[in-house]
Structure formats: C-alpha cells, structure tokens
C-alpha cells in the first residue's frame, strides 16, 4: 500500500460481518425479524426490542438523501473535488449510509437520484461500499 492510501475501517465485533460482507462485495445489514426493521450502525441487539439481529443481504439500491462536494484535501488518499453523500436504502425509510458518489460529477449529483452500490477495493482484503448512478457501468 502507498503512504497516501485512503483510510480503511477498523472493524469491531459488532461491525465485523458488515465489513466481511463488503470484502465479498456484498452489502449486508443487521435485521430484527420481530420488529421487521434494519439497524444501522450495527448494535449488539435490536435497538427497539433488544432482540436478536441477523445479517441480511440488501438490494444495494437507494436514493440520494443529500450530498456535498469536498474541495479540500483534509483526508489522506482523497483528491478533491469528490462527492460525499447520504444514501437512503430502498429497504427502509430513514435507513441511510454515509458514502461516496462515484461515476458522477458534482454537476450531475442531485437529491433523489437513484443509485446502486459499488465496491472499492482498498487492498489487504478490505473493500468499502460506495454508490454510483443506477444502471451505470
């Protein structure tokens, strides 16, 4: 890895399945069957009923809830400008991931835009979910 590589996540026991799935280029989130509800970020149990959670594969599709264009190089590995977004996943209202929008210029980005997950490999078996316009390459 080069010294200006992008930051990688450090998983903890609650988030390990999330990052393990990402490494396989799959988006999975913890789900409570009793409440029929996803929990993110991952917690030891359901945040409503404190019941057991199981990891469920997501469609990887959603809409842009909001976005911003970063113009400063505060974070290593990122060359501005780049797009940061909150993507609301199709499976549940209010279920949002902070992510990057890729394959999309700042002028093309919009709130409500349809997006799908894409994975960026960061080396050493680590990958992170990002989002690109739906139906992209």
């Amino acid at each position: 890895m080069t010294t200006n590589a992008r930051p990688i996540p450090i998983p903890d026991p609650e988030s390990q399945p999330y990052w393990d799935a990402a490494a396989r280029h799959a988006l999975e989130l913890p789900y409570c069957d009793a409440c029929a509800r996803y929990v993110f970020p991952p917690r030891p149990t359901c945040t409503r009923c404190l019941g057991e959670l199981r990891w469920v594969a997501m469609s990887g599709r959603g809409t842009v809830y909001s976005y911003a264009t970063m113009h400063e190089s505060y974070m290593r590995g990122f060359d501005p400008p780049y797009l940061v977004a909150q993507v609301e996943l199709d499976e549940q209202s209010g279920l949002r991931l902070t992510t990057n929008l890729i394959d999309c210029t700042p002028d093309e980005a919009s709130i409500g835009m349809r997006v799908e997950v894409a994975f960026e490999d960061r080396g050493d078996g680590v990958a992170v979910p990002q989002f690109r316009p739906e139906g992209g390459a």
């Binding site: 400063e72 909150q86 902070t98």
Partner: protein
C-alpha cells in the same frame, strides 16, 4: 430542572484573552490568563475557588491530546493556580455546557461554593487543524473516514435544507454577516476590523460545498473562563450577578428552557446560539421556536439577528466572529449582557439572555441567564 432552582446560582466573574491564530502563546499561558482574570473579576482570589469544571478536549483531527500542550486538565489548572479544590471534573465533550451544568449542580448541592469553568484552545503552528493523516479508523468513524468525510455532516444537512425549504446561500450570508457585524464591536474578536461583504462570501473557496470557508468557525489560540457561585454569596461580590434562571439538557424538547426558567420566548432579548457551523444558527432558531420549521432562513433576513436587530443573536460574534471556544464565549457574553457590561455590544435594557450550546452531533445544555 426543578423551578425551585431558578436564580439559585449566578455567574459572577468573567475572564478571557485575545483570540489569535497560531500566536506562539502556549495553551497554559492563555488558560492562566483567562482563569486569573475571571477569579479577579469576581472579586475573589484563587484561595476562594473550591470547585473546578473543565472542558479539555482538543477535537481536531491533528490533536496530540497532551495535557498542558493541546489540552489542559483540572489537575494541571488546580496545580498551576494553587487551588484547594473540594471538587473538580473534566468533561469529555468539547462544548462547554456539561462543565457549566456540573458547576451549577455542584453549587446547589453544596459540593462547592465558588466554581471556576475554563475553556482553552490551542492552534498548533505548522499543522493543518482539520487534516487527518490517519490510515485506519474505528468506532463511528469506520463508517465515515473511509469516504473522506471529516467535518462534512453539516454540509449534508444544509444541502437537504436548501432543497426542502428553498433556502439560499445569500440567506445563509445573513447569518454569517450578522456574526461578523457583532464581532466588529468585540475587542477580543479575531475578525474585529475585518468586515465581510456578500461578494467576499460568495467568492470565497468551498470547503464542503454548499459550505464555504466562512461557514466554519475560526480556530484560535485563546481562552475564556467564568466563575459561578450561589445566589446568596453572589450579592456580596462586585458585579451585578448574571443569575442562572434555567438550565436544561438539549435532550429535552426545545421549549423546555422557557418552562424551566419561567421566562417566555417573547421575553428573551438576546440569544447566544452556538455557531460552530453557520447553519447551526438556523437549527437553533427553529429548535427553540423563534422560527417555524423550515423558516429560519426567512427569519434571519434584513438584519434581524444583527446588532440592533429585533433578536440580536450571538452578540459577541460567536465562534465564527470571535473564535472557537466551543461555547465559552457564548456563556461569557450572555453573562456580560445580563451584567450590563457588554460595552458597545450592550443590548439596551436587557434582562434575559438565552444561551444555547452544542448542536445535534454534540448534545449539550441550554441556559437562561437573567438579572433575577
């Protein structure tokens, strides 16, 4: 808050330093100046101070977290000032509300009689304040740092707010401009003597678009301190006390401060609203009910929150105009307005001043200060 606690405690002394950028002054140097000034301003000596509530955290990505270098603890200050403390605590969230609330609680429970609260900030020369060289991030940052998100959450909020309510950057300048105009009247403000035009604002560089350079507070080396005591002790001291009429956690709904203090929204003559990011002022105006949901961008038009406006907001210039003390400037200014000591900034006839600290990402406290 139990209404029986209204006006049982007061701010009786304030101290502060000039706000400077990469000044070469050390953190203990500015911390001591503010603390010594606050104690003397209260008509006390260090021997009288028996309680201390600190806010040491350096929240910037490039911080060392070294006591006496870029953070300063109750142990350091207690030792440096030679205090005989019966009680002291440091609070881990950067915004000063927790320390002020703990000071009030210590006074009403008799844990301490004279409490010093301090916030000191240090901008290390040669280092980009917000830059992160971290190659790996855990905890909540595992979901943000891999995307190059450092201080971006407020920009995401703003983009959505502009989309939902039709707010514009010209309207956000109404907030930035009001803070800058207030700062012109504050001798300690970093931006004193440096007005900002709409053209300056619109042509400044982006940080997280739609937020530009002037939508962020200004990191400084500087410090502020206040001394609190009980109401019965306060009356024996030199200044008119700034009574704590109410204090509520930001976990409570926005109108809780008016019920707690018995001072209604319409009786508030100035509000010191936390302004670490300019959109936070809009969030506070809506949360506290001064403006309806989605309407703060209209409320702040036409100089309404500026000097001489119908509701002067953050009358010392705030974290944006004076410098980033994470709310200690707001507490100090609220007290000075109530004491009638705000000089050119004084809001005529002011009896009640609200102080709102923190924002959604950093829960804190709302205070109502009054002449009692």
């Amino acid at each position: 808050m139990d209404p029986a606690l209204r006006n049982k405690t007061a701010i009786v002394g304030v101290g502060y330093t000039q706000m400077e950028r990469k000044s070469g002054r050390s953190l203990p140097n500015v911390a001591m100046e503010a603390a010594v000034n606050a104690i003397a301003d209260a008509g006390l000596t260090p021997a009288d101070i028996d309680g201390y509530a600190g806010t040491p955290k350096a929240p910037n990505a490039s911080a060392f977290h070294w006591d006496g270098v870029d953070e300063i603890s109750e142990r350091y200050m207690g030792s440096a000032l030679g205090l005989n403390l019966r009680w002291a605590s440091d609070f881990n969230r950067g915004v000063v509300g927790d320390a002020v609330a703990a000071a009030i609680q210590s006074l009403v429970t008799g844990t301490a009689n004279y409490v010093l609260c301090l916030r000191a900030m240090y901008e290390r020369p040669g280092v980009r304040y917000a830059a992160s060289e971290s190659s790996a991030s855990g905890g909540p940052e595992q979901y943000t740092a891999p995307y190059g998100v450092g201080i971006g959450a407020m920009a995401l909020w703003l983009q959505r707010y502009m989309h939902d309510y039709g707010a514009t950057r010209e309207e956000l300048f109404d907030v930035v401009s009001a803070l800058r105009e207030h700062a012109q009247l504050n001798p300690y403000a970093y931006w004193r003597g440096k007005p900002l035009s709409l053209d300056d604002y619109l042509s400044s560089r982006w940080v997280y678009e739609p937020m530009c350079l002037y939508d962020y507070d200004i990191p400084v080396t500087g410090a502020g301190a206040v001394v609190l005591t009980t109401a019965d002790r306060a009356t024996a001291l030199p200044h008119k006390p700034a009574y704590i009429s109410g204090f509520v956690s930001t976990r409570e709904r926005g109108d809780a401060i008016f019920e707690a203090s018995g001072i209604g929204r319409e009786a508030v003559q100035a509000a010191q609203l936390y302004d670490g990011f300019s959109p936070v002022v809009w969030k506070w105006l809506e949360e506290l009910g001064f403006a309806g949901k989605g309407e703060a961008h209209e409320f702040t038009r036409n100089g309404r929150i500026g000097p001489g406006g119908a509701l002067p907001v953050t009358t010392f210039g705030g974290s944006q105009g004076e410098g980033r003390l994470h709310g200690m400037g707001h507490v100090r200014e609220g007290a000075m307005q109530v004491m009638g000591r705000a000089g050119e900034r004084q809001v005529p006839g002011l009896e009640n001043c609200l102080v709102a600290l923190g924002f959604d990402a950093v829960p804190s406290w709302v205070l109502m200060l009054s002449t009692g």
